[in-house]
Amino acid sequence: MEKIIPKGLIQDEPLIFEISKKGRKGYSLPRWDVEKIDPLGIIPKNLLRGELEGFPELSEVDVVRHFTRLSQWNYGVETGLYPLGSCTMKYNPQLNEEIAKIKGFMDLHPYTPEELCQGALEIMYELQNLLAEIVGMDKVTLQPAAGAHGELTGMLMIKAALKARGENRHKVLVPDTAHGTNCSTSTIASFQIVEIKSNERGVISPEAISRLMDTDVSAVMITNPNTLGFFEEHLPKIAEIVHQKGGFVYCDGANLNALMGKVKLGSLGVDVVHINLHKTFSTPHGGGGPGSGPVAVKKELVPFLPVPVIEKVDGNYRLNYDRPFSIGKVKAFYGNFGVALKAYAYILSMGAEGLKTAAEMAVLNANYLLHKLKPYYYLPYDRPCMHECVFSDRFQEKYNITTLDIAKRLIDYGYHPPTIYFPLVVRGAIMIEPTETESKDNLDRFIEVMIQIAKEAQEQPELLRRAPQKVKVRRLDEVLAARRPKLRWKPKDKDHMEGEIK
Protein backbone atom coordinates (compact mmCIF):
# COMPACT_ATOMS: atom_id res chain seq x y z
CA MET A 1 0.00 0.00 0.00
CA GLU A 2 1.47 3.33 -1.03
CA LYS A 3 1.86 5.71 1.84
CA ILE A 4 0.58 9.22 1.51
CA ILE A 5 3.49 11.58 1.71
CA PRO A 6 2.13 14.71 3.35
CA LYS A 7 2.49 17.68 1.07
CA GLY A 8 2.62 20.68 3.30
CA LEU A 9 -0.79 22.19 3.79
CA ILE A 10 -3.05 19.21 4.49
CA GLN A 11 -2.98 19.52 8.28
CA ASP A 12 -4.60 17.01 10.53
CA GLU A 13 -7.12 18.34 13.02
CA PRO A 14 -8.93 16.44 15.76
CA LEU A 15 -12.52 16.97 16.84
CA ILE A 16 -13.29 20.14 18.76
CA PHE A 17 -13.99 17.98 21.80
CA GLU A 18 -10.50 16.55 21.59
CA ILE A 19 -8.74 19.91 21.54
CA SER A 20 -10.92 21.25 24.34
CA LYS A 21 -9.14 22.27 27.55
CA LYS A 22 -10.93 22.92 30.80
CA GLY A 23 -10.91 26.59 31.60
CA ARG A 24 -10.35 27.90 28.06
CA LYS A 25 -12.73 30.63 26.98
CA GLY A 26 -13.36 31.94 23.49
CA TYR A 27 -16.29 34.27 23.78
CA SER A 28 -17.12 37.84 24.49
CA LEU A 29 -20.65 38.52 25.68
CA PRO A 30 -22.22 41.93 26.27
CA ARG A 31 -21.52 43.11 29.79
CA TRP A 32 -23.61 42.38 32.82
CA ASP A 33 -25.56 45.60 33.27
CA VAL A 34 -28.49 44.04 35.15
CA GLU A 35 -28.58 41.91 38.26
CA LYS A 36 -27.51 38.32 37.68
CA ILE A 37 -30.50 36.19 38.57
CA ASP A 38 -30.11 32.87 40.35
CA PRO A 39 -32.33 30.60 38.24
CA LEU A 40 -33.22 28.56 41.29
CA GLY A 41 -35.05 31.61 42.56
CA ILE A 42 -37.55 31.47 39.71
CA ILE A 43 -37.41 28.04 38.13
CA PRO A 44 -38.03 24.74 39.93
CA LYS A 45 -34.84 22.71 40.39
CA ASN A 46 -36.08 19.75 38.36
CA LEU A 47 -36.46 21.99 35.32
CA LEU A 48 -32.86 23.17 35.43
CA ARG A 49 -29.84 21.40 34.06
CA GLY A 50 -26.49 20.84 35.60
CA GLU A 51 -23.34 21.37 33.58
CA LEU A 52 -23.32 21.42 29.81
CA GLU A 53 -21.57 18.09 29.66
CA GLY A 54 -19.64 17.37 26.54
CA PHE A 55 -19.39 20.97 25.41
CA PRO A 56 -15.90 22.05 24.42
CA GLU A 57 -13.89 24.85 26.02
CA LEU A 58 -11.80 26.58 23.41
CA SER A 59 -10.05 29.86 22.78
CA GLU A 60 -10.88 31.95 19.73
CA VAL A 61 -7.60 30.92 18.16
CA ASP A 62 -8.50 27.25 18.64
CA VAL A 63 -11.84 27.72 16.94
CA VAL A 64 -10.51 29.74 14.03
CA ARG A 65 -7.65 27.37 13.36
CA HIS A 66 -9.89 24.35 13.71
CA PHE A 67 -12.45 25.41 11.14
CA THR A 68 -9.86 26.93 8.84
CA ARG A 69 -8.10 23.60 8.69
CA LEU A 70 -11.35 21.77 8.13
CA SER A 71 -12.14 24.04 5.22
CA GLN A 72 -8.82 23.16 3.61
CA TRP A 73 -9.89 19.53 3.31
CA ASN A 74 -12.87 20.53 1.19
CA TYR A 75 -13.34 21.31 -2.48
CA GLY A 76 -15.66 24.09 -3.62
CA VAL A 77 -16.66 25.73 -6.89
CA GLU A 78 -13.98 28.31 -6.18
CA THR A 79 -11.41 25.52 -5.99
CA GLY A 80 -12.15 24.22 -9.47
CA LEU A 81 -14.55 22.65 -11.93
CA TYR A 82 -17.37 20.92 -10.11
CA PRO A 83 -19.15 18.96 -12.82
CA LEU A 84 -22.01 17.45 -10.80
CA GLY A 85 -24.89 16.62 -13.11
CA SER A 86 -28.25 18.22 -12.29
CA CYS A 87 -26.65 20.34 -9.56
CA THR A 88 -25.59 23.31 -11.70
CA MET A 89 -22.45 24.15 -9.75
CA LYS A 90 -21.92 27.50 -11.38
CA TYR A 91 -19.81 30.30 -9.95
CA ASN A 92 -21.42 32.07 -6.97
CA PRO A 93 -20.99 35.80 -7.54
CA GLN A 94 -19.22 37.52 -4.66
CA LEU A 95 -21.46 40.56 -5.07
CA ASN A 96 -24.44 38.53 -3.92
CA GLU A 97 -22.67 37.67 -0.68
CA GLU A 98 -22.00 41.37 -0.04
CA ILE A 99 -25.62 42.25 -0.57
CA ALA A 100 -26.83 39.53 1.76
CA LYS A 101 -24.68 41.10 4.50
CA ILE A 102 -26.38 44.49 4.33
CA LYS A 103 -27.46 44.92 7.93
CA GLY A 104 -30.95 46.14 7.24
CA PHE A 105 -31.74 42.84 5.52
CA MET A 106 -29.53 40.49 7.51
CA ASP A 107 -30.83 41.64 10.89
CA LEU A 108 -34.46 42.12 9.88
CA HIS A 109 -36.89 40.32 12.17
CA PRO A 110 -39.70 38.53 10.30
CA TYR A 111 -42.35 40.02 12.59
CA THR A 112 -41.25 43.57 11.86
CA PRO A 113 -44.41 45.48 10.83
CA GLU A 114 -44.91 45.47 7.05
CA GLU A 115 -44.63 49.24 6.72
CA LEU A 116 -41.08 49.04 8.07
CA CYS A 117 -39.77 46.31 5.82
CA GLN A 118 -40.93 47.45 2.43
CA GLY A 119 -37.44 46.93 1.01
CA ALA A 120 -37.50 43.24 1.90
CA LEU A 121 -41.01 42.79 0.58
CA GLU A 122 -40.03 44.61 -2.60
CA ILE A 123 -37.20 42.16 -3.15
CA MET A 124 -39.47 39.17 -2.69
CA TYR A 125 -42.30 40.60 -4.79
CA GLU A 126 -40.06 41.63 -7.66
CA LEU A 127 -38.16 38.34 -7.62
CA GLN A 128 -41.45 36.48 -7.83
CA ASN A 129 -42.36 38.43 -10.94
CA LEU A 130 -38.99 37.90 -12.57
CA LEU A 131 -39.12 34.16 -11.95
CA ALA A 132 -42.67 34.02 -13.31
CA GLU A 133 -41.48 35.72 -16.47
CA ILE A 134 -38.51 33.38 -16.86
CA VAL A 135 -40.58 30.20 -16.62
CA GLY A 136 -43.70 31.62 -18.25
CA MET A 137 -46.10 31.10 -15.35
CA ASP A 138 -48.60 33.34 -13.55
CA LYS A 139 -47.64 33.51 -9.89
CA VAL A 140 -44.77 32.41 -7.68
CA THR A 141 -44.31 31.56 -4.00
CA LEU A 142 -40.88 31.86 -2.40
CA GLN A 143 -41.86 29.95 0.73
CA PRO A 144 -40.29 26.50 0.08
CA ALA A 145 -36.76 26.14 1.45
CA ALA A 146 -35.40 23.73 -1.16
CA GLY A 147 -36.31 21.92 -4.37
CA ALA A 148 -37.82 18.92 -2.64
CA HIS A 149 -39.78 21.28 -0.42
CA GLY A 150 -41.04 23.01 -3.55
CA GLU A 151 -42.07 19.66 -4.99
CA LEU A 152 -44.12 18.94 -1.90
CA THR A 153 -45.71 22.38 -2.05
CA GLY A 154 -46.61 21.88 -5.71
CA MET A 155 -48.06 18.43 -5.18
CA LEU A 156 -50.08 19.61 -2.19
CA MET A 157 -51.50 22.41 -4.34
CA ILE A 158 -52.47 19.92 -7.02
CA LYS A 159 -54.12 17.78 -4.37
CA ALA A 160 -56.04 20.78 -3.04
CA ALA A 161 -57.13 21.81 -6.53
CA LEU A 162 -58.49 18.33 -7.19
CA LYS A 163 -60.26 18.29 -3.85
CA ALA A 164 -61.85 21.67 -4.67
CA ARG A 165 -63.27 20.03 -7.79
CA GLY A 166 -64.64 17.27 -5.63
CA GLU A 167 -62.10 14.74 -6.91
CA ASN A 168 -59.87 12.35 -5.02
CA ARG A 169 -57.16 10.97 -7.29
CA HIS A 170 -54.51 8.54 -6.08
CA LYS A 171 -51.76 8.22 -8.65
CA VAL A 172 -48.81 10.20 -9.98
CA LEU A 173 -46.90 9.28 -13.14
CA VAL A 174 -43.14 9.53 -12.63
CA PRO A 175 -40.47 8.77 -15.28
CA ASP A 176 -37.79 6.17 -14.63
CA THR A 177 -35.22 8.96 -14.97
CA ALA A 178 -36.73 10.97 -12.11
CA HIS A 179 -34.78 12.21 -9.13
CA GLY A 180 -35.53 10.28 -5.91
CA THR A 181 -37.19 13.32 -4.37
CA ASN A 182 -40.01 13.15 -6.95
CA CYS A 183 -40.96 9.72 -5.61
CA SER A 184 -40.59 10.43 -1.93
CA THR A 185 -42.47 13.72 -2.31
CA SER A 186 -45.40 11.93 -3.93
CA THR A 187 -45.55 9.51 -1.05
CA ILE A 188 -45.64 12.30 1.54
CA ALA A 189 -48.49 13.87 -0.42
CA SER A 190 -50.24 10.49 -0.17
CA PHE A 191 -49.99 9.55 -3.83
CA GLN A 192 -48.99 6.23 -5.36
CA ILE A 193 -46.30 6.25 -7.96
CA VAL A 194 -46.69 4.72 -11.40
CA GLU A 195 -43.40 4.55 -13.28
CA ILE A 196 -43.17 5.51 -16.94
CA LYS A 197 -40.36 4.07 -18.98
CA SER A 198 -38.32 6.41 -21.17
CA ASN A 199 -38.00 5.42 -24.82
CA GLU A 200 -34.91 4.67 -26.88
CA ARG A 201 -34.26 8.38 -27.31
CA GLY A 202 -34.16 8.77 -23.54
CA VAL A 203 -37.39 10.77 -23.35
CA ILE A 204 -41.02 10.08 -22.46
CA SER A 205 -43.30 9.31 -25.39
CA PRO A 206 -46.94 10.44 -25.60
CA GLU A 207 -47.93 6.81 -26.12
CA ALA A 208 -46.39 5.79 -22.81
CA ILE A 209 -48.43 8.50 -21.10
CA SER A 210 -51.64 7.63 -22.98
CA ARG A 211 -51.38 4.05 -21.83
CA LEU A 212 -51.18 5.07 -18.19
CA MET A 213 -53.24 8.26 -18.03
CA ASP A 214 -56.70 7.97 -16.52
CA THR A 215 -58.98 9.87 -14.19
CA ASP A 216 -57.22 8.46 -11.14
CA VAL A 217 -53.96 10.11 -12.12
CA SER A 218 -53.54 13.49 -10.49
CA ALA A 219 -50.39 14.53 -12.29
CA VAL A 220 -47.35 13.63 -14.30
CA MET A 221 -44.07 14.75 -12.70
CA ILE A 222 -41.60 15.48 -15.42
CA THR A 223 -38.10 16.95 -15.31
CA ASN A 224 -37.24 19.10 -18.31
CA PRO A 225 -34.56 18.83 -19.53
CA ASN A 226 -34.46 15.38 -17.95
CA THR A 227 -31.66 13.76 -15.99
CA LEU A 228 -30.19 12.27 -19.15
CA GLY A 229 -29.68 15.83 -20.34
CA PHE A 230 -32.41 15.68 -22.98
CA PHE A 231 -35.25 18.05 -23.70
CA GLU A 232 -38.55 16.26 -23.18
CA GLU A 233 -39.62 17.02 -26.74
CA HIS A 234 -43.09 15.49 -26.40
CA LEU A 235 -44.02 17.58 -23.41
CA PRO A 236 -46.67 19.69 -25.21
CA LYS A 237 -48.47 16.57 -26.44
CA ILE A 238 -48.08 14.89 -23.07
CA ALA A 239 -49.55 17.95 -21.38
CA GLU A 240 -52.51 17.75 -23.73
CA ILE A 241 -53.15 14.12 -22.88
CA VAL A 242 -52.90 14.74 -19.16
CA HIS A 243 -55.04 17.87 -19.21
CA GLN A 244 -57.69 16.13 -21.26
CA LYS A 245 -58.26 13.70 -18.39
CA GLY A 246 -58.19 16.51 -15.82
CA GLY A 247 -54.67 15.95 -14.55
CA PHE A 248 -51.84 18.42 -13.94
CA VAL A 249 -48.31 18.67 -15.29
CA TYR A 250 -45.70 19.14 -12.57
CA CYS A 251 -42.26 20.12 -13.80
CA ASP A 252 -39.12 19.56 -11.75
CA GLY A 253 -37.16 22.68 -12.67
CA ALA A 254 -33.76 21.53 -11.42
CA ASN A 255 -32.35 21.71 -14.95
CA LEU A 256 -33.73 25.13 -15.82
CA ASN A 257 -30.21 26.36 -16.57
CA ALA A 258 -30.51 24.93 -20.09
CA LEU A 259 -33.72 26.76 -20.91
CA MET A 260 -33.55 30.34 -19.62
CA GLY A 261 -34.49 32.74 -22.39
CA LYS A 262 -34.79 29.91 -24.92
CA VAL A 263 -38.21 28.52 -24.11
CA LYS A 264 -40.82 29.12 -21.42
CA LEU A 265 -41.94 26.03 -19.51
CA GLY A 266 -45.41 27.51 -19.16
CA SER A 267 -45.84 27.54 -22.95
CA LEU A 268 -45.18 23.80 -23.07
CA GLY A 269 -48.20 23.03 -20.91
CA VAL A 270 -46.59 22.96 -17.46
CA ASP A 271 -49.02 23.86 -14.66
CA VAL A 272 -46.60 24.05 -11.79
CA VAL A 273 -42.82 24.09 -11.62
CA HIS A 274 -40.30 24.42 -8.82
CA ILE A 275 -37.08 26.32 -9.31
CA ASN A 276 -33.81 25.71 -7.45
CA LEU A 277 -32.29 29.10 -6.68
CA HIS A 278 -29.15 27.36 -5.41
CA LYS A 279 -28.70 25.76 -8.82
CA THR A 280 -29.90 27.91 -11.71
CA PHE A 281 -29.70 31.25 -9.94
CA SER A 282 -26.17 31.04 -8.57
CA THR A 283 -26.78 31.05 -4.83
CA PRO A 284 -24.14 28.96 -3.05
CA HIS A 285 -24.72 25.32 -2.11
CA GLY A 286 -23.31 25.73 1.36
CA GLY A 287 -22.16 22.13 1.66
CA GLY A 288 -25.76 20.97 1.79
CA GLY A 289 -27.88 24.11 1.90
CA PRO A 290 -29.46 26.48 2.58
CA GLY A 291 -31.28 26.45 -0.72
CA SER A 292 -34.55 27.87 -1.89
CA GLY A 293 -37.20 26.17 -3.99
CA PRO A 294 -39.76 28.72 -5.23
CA VAL A 295 -42.82 27.31 -6.96
CA ALA A 296 -44.43 28.92 -9.99
CA VAL A 297 -48.01 28.13 -10.94
CA LYS A 298 -50.63 28.81 -13.57
CA LYS A 299 -53.86 30.67 -12.77
CA GLU A 300 -55.81 27.57 -11.85
CA LEU A 301 -53.50 26.81 -8.93
CA VAL A 302 -53.09 30.38 -7.69
CA PRO A 303 -55.84 30.16 -5.01
CA PHE A 304 -53.94 27.31 -3.36
CA LEU A 305 -50.61 29.09 -2.89
CA PRO A 306 -49.17 29.03 0.64
CA VAL A 307 -49.84 32.02 2.89
CA PRO A 308 -48.92 34.77 3.14
CA VAL A 309 -48.97 35.92 -0.48
CA ILE A 310 -46.86 39.01 -1.14
CA GLU A 311 -48.83 41.70 -2.93
CA LYS A 312 -48.39 45.25 -4.12
CA VAL A 313 -51.34 47.56 -3.46
CA ASP A 314 -51.14 51.28 -4.30
CA GLY A 315 -47.37 51.16 -4.40
CA ASN A 316 -47.09 49.43 -1.03
CA TYR A 317 -46.03 45.87 -0.49
CA ARG A 318 -48.04 43.76 1.91
CA LEU A 319 -48.49 40.23 3.22
CA ASN A 320 -51.89 38.80 2.49
CA TYR A 321 -53.08 36.03 4.78
CA ASP A 322 -56.67 36.16 3.60
CA ARG A 323 -56.54 33.20 1.23
CA PRO A 324 -59.34 30.78 2.06
CA PHE A 325 -58.19 28.08 -0.37
CA SER A 326 -54.51 28.16 0.49
CA ILE A 327 -52.84 24.87 1.39
CA GLY A 328 -51.58 26.65 4.48
CA LYS A 329 -47.91 27.08 5.31
CA VAL A 330 -44.99 24.90 4.37
CA LYS A 331 -42.47 26.74 6.50
CA ALA A 332 -42.51 29.32 9.29
CA PHE A 333 -42.32 32.94 8.06
CA TYR A 334 -41.89 33.65 4.36
CA GLY A 335 -39.15 31.50 2.87
CA ASN A 336 -35.37 31.65 2.71
CA PHE A 337 -35.20 35.39 2.18
CA GLY A 338 -31.43 35.46 2.57
CA VAL A 339 -31.13 33.10 -0.39
CA ALA A 340 -33.84 34.80 -2.48
CA LEU A 341 -31.98 38.08 -2.08
CA LYS A 342 -28.90 36.64 -3.76
CA ALA A 343 -30.89 35.15 -6.64
CA TYR A 344 -32.60 38.50 -7.17
CA ALA A 345 -29.25 40.28 -7.30
CA TYR A 346 -28.04 37.68 -9.80
CA ILE A 347 -30.98 38.18 -12.14
CA LEU A 348 -30.58 41.96 -11.90
CA SER A 349 -26.89 41.56 -12.81
CA MET A 350 -27.52 39.27 -15.72
CA GLY A 351 -30.58 40.71 -17.38
CA ALA A 352 -32.38 38.95 -20.19
CA GLU A 353 -29.37 38.72 -22.44
CA GLY A 354 -27.19 37.41 -19.66
CA LEU A 355 -29.55 34.62 -18.72
CA LYS A 356 -29.99 33.60 -22.35
CA THR A 357 -26.23 33.59 -22.86
CA ALA A 358 -25.83 31.53 -19.70
CA ALA A 359 -28.20 28.89 -21.02
CA GLU A 360 -26.52 28.87 -24.41
CA MET A 361 -23.01 28.57 -23.03
CA ALA A 362 -24.09 25.91 -20.56
CA VAL A 363 -25.42 23.84 -23.45
CA LEU A 364 -22.39 24.58 -25.61
CA ASN A 365 -20.03 23.49 -22.85
CA ALA A 366 -21.86 20.24 -22.22
CA ASN A 367 -21.95 19.37 -25.91
CA TYR A 368 -18.26 20.19 -26.24
CA LEU A 369 -17.48 17.72 -23.46
CA LEU A 370 -19.82 15.14 -24.97
CA HIS A 371 -18.09 15.36 -28.30
CA LYS A 372 -14.56 15.26 -26.97
CA LEU A 373 -15.13 12.45 -24.50
CA LYS A 374 -17.26 10.10 -26.52
CA PRO A 375 -14.35 8.27 -28.15
CA TYR A 376 -13.16 7.35 -24.67
CA TYR A 377 -16.32 6.82 -22.62
CA TYR A 378 -19.45 5.01 -23.67
CA LEU A 379 -22.36 7.31 -24.49
CA PRO A 380 -25.58 5.34 -23.99
CA TYR A 381 -27.64 7.85 -26.00
CA ASP A 382 -25.53 9.06 -28.86
CA ARG A 383 -27.11 12.39 -29.66
CA PRO A 384 -26.61 16.04 -28.69
CA CYS A 385 -27.45 16.90 -25.11
CA MET A 386 -28.57 20.03 -23.36
CA HIS A 387 -26.70 21.31 -20.29
CA GLU A 388 -25.47 17.90 -19.11
CA CYS A 389 -24.32 14.65 -20.66
CA VAL A 390 -24.38 11.09 -19.37
CA PHE A 391 -21.68 8.50 -20.00
CA SER A 392 -21.13 5.08 -18.49
CA ASP A 393 -18.21 2.77 -17.62
CA ARG A 394 -19.04 0.22 -20.28
CA PHE A 395 -15.76 0.68 -22.20
CA GLN A 396 -13.80 0.26 -18.98
CA GLU A 397 -15.68 -2.84 -17.80
CA LYS A 398 -13.30 -5.13 -19.63
CA TYR A 399 -10.44 -3.86 -17.48
CA ASN A 400 -12.53 -4.46 -14.36
CA ILE A 401 -12.75 -0.75 -13.79
CA THR A 402 -15.98 0.80 -12.54
CA THR A 403 -17.50 4.27 -12.56
CA LEU A 404 -16.49 4.55 -8.92
CA ASP A 405 -12.84 3.92 -9.76
CA ILE A 406 -12.90 6.54 -12.50
CA ALA A 407 -14.46 9.05 -10.11
CA LYS A 408 -11.91 8.41 -7.39
CA ARG A 409 -9.01 8.76 -9.84
CA LEU A 410 -10.32 12.17 -10.91
CA ILE A 411 -9.79 13.28 -7.34
CA ASP A 412 -6.10 12.53 -7.64
CA TYR A 413 -6.03 14.90 -10.60
CA GLY A 414 -7.54 17.64 -8.48
CA TYR A 415 -11.14 17.46 -9.67
CA HIS A 416 -14.41 16.87 -7.92
CA PRO A 417 -15.98 13.89 -9.68
CA PRO A 418 -19.22 14.20 -11.67
CA THR A 419 -22.45 12.69 -10.38
CA ILE A 420 -22.14 8.91 -10.39
CA TYR A 421 -24.69 6.09 -10.53
CA PHE A 422 -27.51 8.42 -11.40
CA PRO A 423 -29.82 8.38 -13.36
CA LEU A 424 -30.63 4.78 -12.54
CA VAL A 425 -31.63 3.93 -16.11
CA VAL A 426 -27.96 3.97 -17.11
CA ARG A 427 -25.86 1.37 -15.38
CA GLY A 428 -22.70 2.94 -13.99
CA ALA A 429 -23.86 6.42 -15.03
CA ILE A 430 -21.43 9.33 -15.09
CA MET A 431 -23.42 12.57 -15.32
CA ILE A 432 -21.41 15.67 -16.22
CA GLU A 433 -22.73 19.23 -16.03
CA PRO A 434 -19.99 21.83 -16.57
CA THR A 435 -22.21 24.99 -16.41
CA GLU A 436 -21.57 28.19 -18.35
CA THR A 437 -19.05 29.64 -15.91
CA GLU A 438 -16.30 27.29 -17.10
CA SER A 439 -13.99 28.53 -19.84
CA LYS A 440 -12.87 26.46 -22.81
CA ASP A 441 -9.42 26.20 -21.24
CA ASN A 442 -10.88 24.69 -18.07
CA LEU A 443 -12.85 22.21 -20.13
CA ASP A 444 -9.84 21.29 -22.25
CA ARG A 445 -7.85 20.56 -19.12
CA PHE A 446 -10.64 18.37 -17.77
CA ILE A 447 -10.93 16.54 -21.09
CA GLU A 448 -7.19 15.91 -21.07
CA VAL A 449 -7.42 14.39 -17.62
CA MET A 450 -10.44 12.23 -18.48
CA ILE A 451 -8.59 10.91 -21.54
CA GLN A 452 -5.56 10.21 -19.40
CA ILE A 453 -7.71 8.28 -16.95
CA ALA A 454 -9.27 6.24 -19.75
CA LYS A 455 -5.75 5.37 -20.84
CA GLU A 456 -4.76 4.44 -17.30
CA ALA A 457 -7.84 2.23 -17.05
CA GLN A 458 -6.48 0.26 -19.94
CA GLU A 459 -2.75 0.27 -19.14
CA GLN A 460 -2.50 0.77 -15.38
CA PRO A 461 -5.89 -0.02 -13.84
CA GLU A 462 -4.32 -0.35 -10.41
CA LEU A 463 -3.93 3.44 -10.30
CA LEU A 464 -7.69 3.78 -10.50
CA ARG A 465 -8.46 1.02 -8.06
CA ARG A 466 -6.14 2.47 -5.45
CA ALA A 467 -7.43 5.99 -5.96
CA PRO A 468 -7.66 8.44 -4.44
CA GLN A 469 -4.16 8.60 -3.05
CA LYS A 470 -3.31 12.29 -2.89
CA VAL A 471 -5.93 13.20 -0.33
CA LYS A 472 -6.42 13.61 3.39
CA VAL A 473 -8.18 10.26 3.73
CA ARG A 474 -8.35 7.43 1.24
CA ARG A 475 -11.39 5.30 0.46
CA LEU A 476 -13.48 5.10 3.58
CA ASP A 477 -15.16 2.03 4.99
CA GLU A 478 -18.83 2.78 4.39
CA VAL A 479 -19.82 -0.74 5.33
CA LEU A 480 -18.44 -0.28 8.82
CA ALA A 481 -20.12 3.12 9.09
CA ALA A 482 -23.47 1.53 8.25
CA ARG A 483 -23.05 -1.65 10.32
CA ARG A 484 -21.79 0.06 13.45
CA PRO A 485 -23.09 3.60 13.17
CA LYS A 486 -21.12 6.03 15.28
CA LEU A 487 -23.03 9.25 14.84
CA ARG A 488 -21.62 11.47 17.57
CA TRP A 489 -18.75 11.98 19.93
CA LYS A 490 -19.68 11.07 23.49
CA PRO A 491 -18.21 12.59 26.65
CA LYS A 492 -16.83 9.28 27.82
CA ASP A 493 -14.99 8.77 24.49
CA LYS A 494 -11.29 8.63 24.94
CA ASP A 495 -10.14 6.68 21.89
CA HIS A 496 -11.60 6.97 18.44
CA MET A 497 -13.92 4.02 18.33
CA GLU A 498 -15.05 3.87 21.92
CA GLY A 499 -18.63 4.45 22.86
CA GLU A 500 -20.11 2.66 19.85
CA ILE A 501 -23.80 2.78 19.35
CA LYS A 502 -25.07 -0.68 20.19
Binding site: Y421, E478, V479, A482, R483
Partner: protein, 128 residues
Amino acid sequence: MKIPNDLLYTETHEWVRVEDNQITIGITDYAQSQLKDVVYVELPEIGSIYKKGDPIGSVESVKTVSDIFSPVSGRVRETNIALKDQPDLINKDPYGKGWIVRMEVSDKKELLGLLSAKAYEDFLSKEN
Protein backbone atom coordinates in the same frame (compact mmCIF):
# COMPACT_ATOMS: atom_id res chain seq x y z
CA MET B 1 -22.98 -19.56 -7.56
CA LYS B 2 -24.26 -21.98 -4.92
CA ILE B 3 -27.77 -23.32 -5.38
CA PRO B 4 -28.28 -26.25 -2.96
CA ASN B 5 -30.45 -29.01 -4.37
CA ASP B 6 -32.41 -29.67 -1.21
CA LEU B 7 -34.01 -26.20 -1.18
CA LEU B 8 -36.83 -24.47 -3.02
CA TYR B 9 -36.56 -20.98 -4.54
CA THR B 10 -38.52 -17.93 -5.67
CA GLU B 11 -38.02 -15.55 -8.59
CA THR B 12 -37.35 -12.82 -6.04
CA HIS B 13 -34.27 -14.74 -4.87
CA GLU B 14 -35.48 -16.18 -1.58
CA TRP B 15 -34.64 -19.77 -0.68
CA VAL B 16 -36.96 -22.04 1.32
CA ARG B 17 -36.09 -25.05 3.48
CA VAL B 18 -39.16 -27.14 4.25
CA GLU B 19 -39.34 -28.91 7.63
CA ASP B 20 -42.80 -30.42 8.25
CA ASN B 21 -45.20 -27.56 8.72
CA GLN B 22 -42.48 -25.02 9.02
CA ILE B 23 -40.17 -23.30 6.56
CA THR B 24 -36.93 -21.45 6.96
CA ILE B 25 -36.32 -18.54 4.58
CA GLY B 26 -33.23 -16.69 3.50
CA ILE B 27 -31.83 -14.99 0.42
CA THR B 28 -29.79 -16.85 -2.17
CA ASP B 29 -26.09 -16.71 -2.85
CA TYR B 30 -26.87 -14.82 -6.05
CA ALA B 31 -28.87 -12.21 -4.11
CA GLN B 32 -26.14 -11.65 -1.53
CA SER B 33 -23.49 -11.35 -4.23
CA GLN B 34 -25.55 -8.64 -5.93
CA LEU B 35 -26.13 -6.73 -2.72
CA LYS B 36 -22.52 -7.02 -1.60
CA ASP B 37 -21.79 -6.26 2.07
CA VAL B 38 -25.01 -6.50 4.03
CA VAL B 39 -25.13 -3.80 6.70
CA TYR B 40 -28.60 -4.22 8.14
CA VAL B 41 -31.55 -6.61 8.10
CA GLU B 42 -35.08 -5.51 8.89
CA LEU B 43 -36.83 -8.47 10.46
CA PRO B 44 -40.58 -9.00 10.81
CA GLU B 45 -42.38 -9.16 14.15
CA ILE B 46 -42.83 -12.62 15.61
CA GLY B 47 -46.41 -13.70 15.28
CA SER B 48 -47.11 -11.56 12.21
CA ILE B 49 -49.20 -13.13 9.51
CA TYR B 50 -48.37 -12.67 5.84
CA LYS B 51 -49.79 -13.68 2.50
CA LYS B 52 -47.67 -15.10 -0.28
CA GLY B 53 -45.80 -12.23 -1.95
CA ASP B 54 -46.10 -9.76 0.96
CA PRO B 55 -42.91 -7.90 1.86
CA ILE B 56 -41.85 -9.18 5.27
CA GLY B 57 -38.58 -7.37 5.77
CA SER B 58 -35.58 -6.04 3.94
CA VAL B 59 -31.86 -6.46 3.50
CA GLU B 60 -29.68 -3.39 3.19
CA SER B 61 -26.24 -2.78 1.84
CA VAL B 62 -24.57 0.62 1.87
CA LYS B 63 -26.20 1.79 -1.34
CA THR B 64 -29.26 -0.42 -1.79
CA VAL B 65 -32.29 -1.85 -0.06
CA SER B 66 -33.95 -5.06 -1.15
CA ASP B 67 -37.27 -6.30 0.11
CA ILE B 68 -37.72 -9.90 1.25
CA PHE B 69 -41.00 -11.34 0.03
CA SER B 70 -42.94 -14.10 1.75
CA PRO B 71 -42.73 -17.21 -0.46
CA VAL B 72 -45.95 -18.62 1.03
CA SER B 73 -48.74 -17.51 3.32
CA GLY B 74 -48.10 -18.10 6.99
CA ARG B 75 -47.16 -16.81 10.42
CA VAL B 76 -43.71 -15.81 11.63
CA ARG B 77 -42.40 -18.18 14.31
CA GLU B 78 -38.83 -17.10 14.73
CA THR B 79 -36.37 -14.56 13.36
CA ASN B 80 -32.58 -14.79 13.26
CA ILE B 81 -31.61 -12.17 15.81
CA ALA B 82 -27.91 -12.95 15.32
CA LEU B 83 -28.28 -10.84 12.18
CA LYS B 84 -28.64 -7.73 14.31
CA ASP B 85 -24.99 -7.75 15.29
CA GLN B 86 -23.70 -9.80 12.39
CA PRO B 87 -25.62 -8.92 9.25
CA ASP B 88 -22.66 -10.21 7.24
CA LEU B 89 -23.72 -13.78 8.07
CA ILE B 90 -25.94 -13.40 5.04
CA ASN B 91 -22.86 -12.84 2.89
CA LYS B 92 -20.70 -15.48 4.55
CA ASP B 93 -23.26 -18.27 4.94
CA PRO B 94 -26.50 -17.38 3.12
CA TYR B 95 -28.01 -20.85 3.35
CA GLY B 96 -26.86 -21.68 6.89
CA LYS B 97 -26.12 -19.18 9.63
CA GLY B 98 -27.52 -16.39 7.42
CA TRP B 99 -31.11 -17.70 7.59
CA ILE B 100 -33.61 -14.92 8.17
CA VAL B 101 -37.11 -16.06 9.15
CA ARG B 102 -38.89 -19.25 10.22
CA MET B 103 -42.56 -19.42 9.31
CA GLU B 104 -45.49 -21.74 9.95
CA VAL B 105 -47.09 -22.53 6.59
CA SER B 106 -50.84 -22.05 6.41
CA ASP B 107 -51.41 -23.59 2.98
CA LYS B 108 -48.95 -26.33 2.03
CA LYS B 109 -50.23 -26.32 -1.54
CA GLU B 110 -48.44 -23.01 -2.09
CA LEU B 111 -45.09 -24.79 -1.76
CA LEU B 112 -45.80 -26.47 -5.07
CA GLY B 113 -45.55 -23.07 -6.77
CA LEU B 114 -41.93 -22.61 -5.73
CA LEU B 115 -38.95 -23.29 -7.99
CA SER B 116 -36.67 -26.31 -7.74
CA ALA B 117 -32.90 -25.75 -7.67
CA LYS B 118 -32.69 -26.54 -11.37
CA ALA B 119 -35.59 -24.21 -12.23
CA TYR B 120 -33.98 -21.40 -10.25
CA GLU B 121 -30.66 -22.00 -11.99
CA ASP B 122 -32.42 -21.73 -15.36
CA PHE B 123 -34.20 -18.61 -14.22
CA LEU B 124 -30.87 -17.03 -13.27
CA SER B 125 -29.28 -17.78 -16.63
CA LYS B 126 -32.25 -16.25 -18.42
CA GLU B 127 -32.03 -13.13 -16.23
CA ASN B 128 -28.40 -12.67 -17.25
